[in-house]
């Protein structure tokens, strides 16, 4: 723990380093915890998150797996049911489809279907999102899909602090928790507040306060939304930015409180619009907050195409800061 504290003295770090420190801390804290996944050991992690951990913890606790997503995810579920606290890494959410049966039919189902006899205290981490020209099969945003499933908790860290501390909270949770780390954020840098040692995984967080409009977002759309809010401030529009953080269960209270106050909202979601988490939030707002709204709910999502390779097309496919600015402006100052 001393070494950990020494490392933690450097408060400026990347999102990647925050993820790494979180895993390291978890391995130090609990002998039942291990990390398992493709290339987490020798290779150091596809996104270099687990670099150095194999040397420190050895192959029993940093387990390289064959390319067998269904089975190593299922093994994580079984190990959790039988007393361990595994962290399973799926290299990217695109490959989680190969393990979807295990996640949906076992992890999400068994606690209920067994009448509460078995819990699945498992954490599944994976990279998500687009923005690095990796083309369609490596650029999906599937967190919204998983947020459809009862029995799972779905987290989307959009800040260095959440990348650093959500894992600890997820491991302490007796339910299966999925953490979606955005590929563009791994290189993001930020300062950690030295007084913060944990975060909750139940609440959304207001990252910037404002009275005119609520921008509801998460993941890599969070920095884009914060940039938009900054630009809007220059023209006199005070936008509040709500970081959803937890996509399941959604924190209705924080979302509703913010939108009831600003009376306008735009939802920014890197998933496709049809059947998305943004659709769910918009539906809840219109069901419960209809009479508080002064303007229609607006959504900015990815264009409904497989995310293309070429930079200009990829950029056009994803929600970007100028669109957020325009959407907010059009709601606050309609012509």
């Amino acid at each position: 723990m001393k070494e950990l504290a020494a490392n933690a003295n450097t408060n400026r770090m990347t999102y990647r380093e925050a993820c790494r420190q979180a895993i390291r801390e978890a391995l130090i804290d609990d002998p039942r915890t291990f990390l398992m996944g493709e290339d987490v050991g020798l290779y150091g992690g596809c996104y270099a998150v687990s670099k150095g951990l194999l040397a420190e913890f050895g192959p029993q606790r940093i387990r390289d797996t064959p390319l067998a997503e269904a089975t190593f995810v299922g093994a994580g579920i079984g190990a959790a049911m039988a007393g361990l606290r595994p962290i399973v890494e799926i290299m990217t959410c695109n490959f989680s489809l190969l393990a979807l049966d295990q996640i949906m039919n076992n992890a999400a189902t068994i606690p209920h279907m067994s009448g509460g006899q078995f819990a699945v205290p498992l954490v599944i981490r994976m990279a998500t999102g687009a923005g690095r020209q990796l083309a369609a099969q490596h650029s999906h945003s599937l967190e919204g899909w998983f947020a459809h499933i009862p029995g799972l908790k779905v987290l989307a860290p959009g800040t260095i602090e959440d990348a650093r501390f959500m894992l600890k909270a997820a491991l302490a949770d007796p339910n299966p928790v999925m953490i979606f780390e955005h590929i563009v954020l791994y290189n993001a840098e930020g300062d950690l507040d030295p007084d913060v040692t944990c975060v909750d995984i139940a609440k959304a967080r207001i990252r910037r306060s404002g009275r005119d409009i609520s921008i509801l977002t998460y993941g890599n759309s969070l920095p884009k939304s914060l940039a938009a809010a900054e630009a809007l401030a220059a023209e006199g529009i005070e936008a509040e930015v709500v970081d959803l953080r937890v996509l399941r269960p959604l924190d209705n209270a924080t979302i509703f409180e913010s939108v009831a106050r600003t009376r306008r909202c735009v939802i920014v979601d890197e998933g496709w619009k049809s059947g998305s988490i943004s659709a769910e939030i918009a539906a809840r707002l219109s069901e419960d907050l209809f009479f508080e709204l002064d303007a229609p709910i607006r959504r900015l999502c990815s264009r409904e195409v497989p995310v293309p390779y070429a930079a200009h097309m990829e950029e056009a496919a994803l929600p970007q800061t100028p669109q957020i600015i325009n959407a907010a402006r059009s709601l606050v100052k309609p012509r």
């Binding site: 039942r32 797996t65 064959p66 067998a68 269904a70 089975t71 190593f72 995810v73 299922g74 093994a75 994580g76 579920i77 079984g78 190990a79 959790a80 049911m81 039988a82 007393g83 361990l84 595994p86 049966d101 295990q102 039919n105 076992n106 068994i110 606690p111 209920h112 279907m113 067994s114 009448g115 509460g116 006899q117 078995f118 819990a119 205290p121 009862p150 029995g151 908790k153 007796p174 339910n175 269960p249």
Partner: protein
């Protein structure tokens, strides 16, 4: 030699009685299905009883079980109370899964029964994880994972055997080869129909055994468990068996002939075992009557228990979707 099954009067009668419990329990379930007391899917184990009964003989209380959706036999042979199983069939709150699982999803934490799994091949990865946990937390424990030959078509089957061997995990893979994956005949589904040979590809010790003979199954399971407990990693046991009845209650059985079923019925483990016990003077007519009476009484109690059970309150519907703590 510990590998050799104990063929004394007591264990012979035990095997017979266990198989009879399963056979008669399921006959009652089929009857209750017609009476619409039991609904949903009902997959009977009729014909395959020797497999579960034989394998369970080789296991200890500390071992773990992963079963399939055809799980009545596994559960009864493992010692789950017939009362709570029947209550589960009825969908009652007193059921072993509090009415949330039904016929296909029996669970029992106390008996390390990790559930009937209704996705073919879906239980194998769980067994890998349970064995990983046991290796660290309960050294010596074995996870017995049951699945049908249809699972051999699934990727998870191959991935799981590979991982178990690679990581030296204490898993007993038990393939219940009843020749049909629902209606899909083995020879139309697999290029290599000799299922146990697939384990060779993963260097996993394996054996094919007559799954209609509980003594043979028990002997093979004891050899397998001894090998696993000896630290030799997993073991693959193929039990060649047959399902006498339809796949479920909605099956016209267009894929096989009456003649084939009749041919297999000649190998029915129950009359064969009974005849053998009688011929070797291990079972007197009086003792047979006693066993049958015991079983009928147990079934009667189970039905009464289920009938008297309560419906889970609707206020409890969402309970356990998320849990507040990990049960100890």
């Amino acid at each position: 030699m510990s590998q050799k099954p104990h063929l004394d009067r007591e264990s012979g009668r035990h095997l017979f009685k266990q198989m009879l419990r399963i056979r008669r329990f399921e006959a009652k379930c089929a009857e209750l299905y017609q009476a619409q007391k039991i609904r949903g899917f009902l997959h009977l184990y009729d014909g395959e009883e020797a497999v579960a009964v034989g394998v369970m003989q080789a296991l200890e209380d500390s071992d773990a079980i992963v079963a399939t959706y055809r799980d009545h036999g596994h559960a009864l042979a493992r010692g789950l109370p017939m009362t709570t199983l029947m209550a589960e069939m009825y969908g009652k709150a007193e059921g072993c899964s509090r009415g949330r699982g039904g016929s296909m999803h029996f669970f029992d934490r106390a008996r390390r029964f990790y559930g009937g799994n209704a996705i073919v091949g879906g239980g194998l990865p769980l067994a890998i994880g349970i064995a990983m946990a046991d290796k660290q937390l309960r050294p010596g424990a074995v996870t017995a994972c049951f699945f049908g030959e249809g699972a051999a078509g699934e990727g998870a089957f191959h991935e799981s055997i590979n991982l178990a061997e690679l990581w030296d995990l204490p898993v007993l893979f038990v393939c219940e080869n009843n020749l049909y994956a629902m209606g899909m005949p083995l020879e139309l589904a697999e290029a290599e129909t000799d299922i146990s040979r697939k384990a060779d590809a993963y260097r996993t010790p394996n054996e094919a055994v007559d799954g209609m003979n509980p003594i043979a199954v028990e002997g093979a399971a004891r050899r397998a468990v001894e090998s696993i407990r000896g630290g030799n990693g997993p073991y693959f046991l193929e039990c060649r068996t047959y399902r006498f009845r339809a796949h479920s209650m909605f099956d016209a059985q267009l894929y096989r002939t009456r003649e084939e079923i009749e041919l297999w019925r000649e190998r029915d483990p129950l009359p064969r075992m009974q005849k053998w016990l009688e011929e070797t003077h291990m079972l007197s007519p009086q003792e047979l009557r006693e066993i049958e009476a015991d079983v009928e009484a147990e079934i009667g109690k189970a039905v009464a228990f289920a009938e008297q059970g309560q419906w889970e309150k609707i206020e409890e519907l969402e309970r356990f979707v998320l849990v507040d703590e990990v049960p100890e």
